[in-house]
Amino acid sequence: MTTRLRTEVAIIGGGLMGSWTAYFLRRRGLSVALIDKGEIGAQSSGVNFGNLRLQGRHPGQIPLALRADAVWDRIVEHLGEACEFERGGHLYLAFDEAQMAKLGHMAEDMFRCGVPVKLLGAAGLRARWPWLGAGVAGASWSARDATANPRLVTPAVARAARRLGAEILSGTRVSAFAKDGERFRLATDRDLEIESDALVNTAGAWGPQIATVFGESAPVFAAGPPQFVTEPLPYFIGPSVQAADGRVIFRQVRRGNVVVAGYPRGASDPVANRAPVDPARTLAAMQSLVEAVPRLAGTSVIRVWSGIEGYLPDMLPVIGVSRTTRGLLHAFGFCGHGFQLGPGVGLTLAELLVDGGTSIPLSDFDIGRFAGEVAHDERLSREFDSASLAATGWSAAGKATLP
């Protein structure tokens, strides 16, 4: 017999965004069902690099990022566990003057937004982090940036939401959507029907499938960076470190392993649920790692993985209310930098639903922006391989077109 579940808000997608939204909605007193076709936090929410980076973000995202940062600061109060949260700081490494100049502009932007970023020359840099490679010309330093363990965070958020009364429905695939007057009706593959006043689409790389049902679209492309981890070594690195040109990102966890991600990103397959890593990319990232930290040459890589992340041509997410359907909210396509934003997105969506508005500027993230021409971000050609970009169907002229 089919069970009927009546809730004020149904959230589809039990990743980081969905879980934080469920948590904050419960804190505001709304009834919530969090639905996922698989496990909670199993996709890019669970396999991402774990950076909680403020510096270098799109300035329009900073208010949201700072709001998230305030939640991360009190993560133990919120979740009852720290999930390896640590403010170790973040370095962007420049390998030449042009990169250093770019970092300088970025630091000015950040200063205007209220994020202090310090520029360091080669000498100052090596005095503090003597293990950096000889090719490093300078860096920008943000002491406030942090990291956490993505494998632990999302399940912990979902547990906290459940303690507050949220209904967590993993292993539940929504098979049909309907809007009947003011109510959403969702059929699932589990003899369960859900009826809600509001619907939140936090389905990540699968987000456009839900948007399409309501006559909206976003040209999301699924990809993932090759990531790998070394065997554990005595702890020496400290901050999270990223080459300014994106070729390598690394950090050392307290356990001792060095976690590494390297570009270009490769296509992943959201249908087969697979994100294979080309071994040639692993080797390339290993070489970049040794250039940044020569002393890691003696260690071994023990594990490689990737994930299924949703990317958009302007490298900005979709966040906000639907243009077509009252009561529908979207938050997906975080372009590989959503981990830090999660709690900010959850708070903001809860405000939109409870208060009917928010002080956080969201216009840059409106789903309607894809109706016209959308510029490609310059990072696309740098951070993705040409084969995966060709597979997106985005036009080569640098303008996005709807698939």
Partner: protein
């Protein structure tokens, strides 16, 4: 003649060498990649150290097969491209990625035959990570490869037909066998005897003769035991176990060899596109192959890495896989011979399935072991830590999630040695079928790769 086809073989044990011989006989020039310094695999391993090993004493009645494999391989000189000491660390888009002497290479293939073999199946027992505690296969490898023993007075324990063979080999090499502590009952062995007799009478007799020879030499063999603990502070000093009546015993020993049969090395097959299927007798996930070893386009599996079957089945399944690869490349293969091989391999594997029942894997044991016992030795994860995760709200539904939450299986061995026990623990603790706990998905590198590895040119 058409353009040369690139046929790759990974593993130079009986399956890989037999496949190479068939391919060479059909004027292909296979590329044979092997981690070992010489062909032979684990079973017909050749000593790497210049030690005077008495091969006849070591291999006993199997010495003929040992010599035949090495003679076959010697006869292939010039017709096989042999790459010893080479790790195949990934398979991606119809190419094998290798590592040898610090250099990475990429080898595209038209056909890839995986003869990756098996390792010991292990189970967490108090003290199993102490110095002096070795996997049974590891204890045998030390002897074959280096002429070394793991200790002066060794106790052999677990459930495996190899227990008795290795104990005899140790005794022949001058070691003292403290006892053989077999965890399976005589009843289980008797129950499996008809299947064993029907499918491999000579092998059954050989196994029985090992036991008789050990008894003859005064070695105590205990059946139907439960292991309590491998004892010692900084090194093994003994083994405690309960006999089938529940009475506790202690055996003094300075080393323990422990093994519970074999687990197939399936990671490369999975990376190459093979689907895995659950085998309820062996309680592990094996590549889903047809009768000839086909598991994905251009991908073949043979030997213990495909279905635990022993050395003879490995050899014949290696030949079959080679014929299948030839046929798929459009080179005529002998149909009648393939049919005979299929029937024989099937029979040998039925025998091994009988053995798996005679030497039962005590799969519910992890549930009974104390919390502080280490389950994942690479990451030092205890049974208690995994149990705590299973009791949490939103518990892991399969082994991959349990790995994500606890680090169990995340270390150097990538769960090759703890993965099966992790699944059994989850199944037993939560009352789910073992099959539903899944397998730890393979990712490259299947074994560690140095960061300094030089780029493929």
């Amino acid at each position: 003649m058409a353009e040369a086809r690139r046929v790759l073989i990974v593993g130079a044990g009986p399956a890989g060498v037999a496949a190479a011989a068939v391919l060479a006989a059909h004027r292909q020039r296979p590329f044979l990649i092997d981690e070992g310094h010489a062909p032979g695999g684990q079973v017909y391993r050749r000593a790497s150290a210049p030690v005077a090993l008495d091969i006849k004493a070591l291999f006993g009645s199997q010495v003929g097969k040992y010599e035949r494999l090495h003679a076959t391989f010697a006869g292939l000189a010039g017709s096989v491209e042999h790459r010893p000491r080479t790790l195949a660390w990934a398979v991606h888009e119809r190419a094998v990625h290798t590592l040898a002497e610090g250099k990475a290479e990429v080898h595209p293939y038209d056909a890839l035959i995986l003869a990756t073999g098996a390792t010991d199946r292990l189970l967490p027992v108090p003290g199993w990570t102490l110095p002096g505690a070795y996997a049974l296969g590891g204890a045998q490898t030390l002897l074959k490869d280096q002429g070394c023993l793991i200790g002066r007075r060794v106790v052999f324990c677990g459930s495996s037909p190899l227990l008795h063979l290795v104990a005899l080999q140790y005794q022949a090499a001058g070691g003292e066998v403290a006892a053989v502590v077999d965890t399976t009952t005589t009843g289980a062995k008797l129950a499996a005897a008809p299947v064993l007799a029907a499918n491999g009478f000579a092998t059954l007799l050989r196994g029985l003769s090992y036991m008789a020879a050990l008894r003859c030499k005064g070695v105590r063999i205990h059946h139907g035991t439960r292991l309590v603990a491998i004892e010692g502070e900084t090194h093994v000093t003994g083994l405690r176990f309960r006999d089938r009546r529940g009475n506790e015993h202690r055996v003094e020993a300075d080393a323990v060899a422990i093994g519970f049969g074999l687990r197939a090395e399936t990671q490369l097959a999975e990376l190459g596109g093979a689907r895995l299927r659950y085998d309820s007798v062996f309680r592990q996930w094996l590549p889903d192959v047809d009768a000839d070893g086909r598991c994905a386009p251009g991908l073949y599996a043979a030997g213990d890495g495909c279905a635990i079957g022993g050395a003879d089945a490995a050899e014949e399944s290696g030949q079959l896989a080679a014929y299948a690869a030839l046929a798929d490349l459009g080179i005529a293969a002998p149909n009648a011979r393939m049919a005979r091989l299929r029937a024989h391999v099937a029979r040998l594997r039925r025998f091994q399935r009988g053995l798996a029942k005679a030497f039962d894997w005590p799969h519910s044991w992890p549930m009974d072991m104390p919390d502080q016992v280490i389950l994942c030795r690479c990451e030092n994860v205890t049974l208690g830590e995994v149990r705590a995760t299973l009791r949490e709200d939103i518990p892991p539904a399969d082994v991959n999630r349990a790995k994500a939450f606890t680090r169990c299986g995340m270390g150097r061995c990538q769960g090759r040695f703890c993965g099966l026990a992790l699944g059994e623990l989850m199944a037993a603790e939560t009352g789910t079928a073992h099959e539903r706990t899944g397998w730890l998905r393979a990712q490259a590198p299947v074994k560690p790769v140095p960061v300094s590895t030089a780029f493929p040119s």
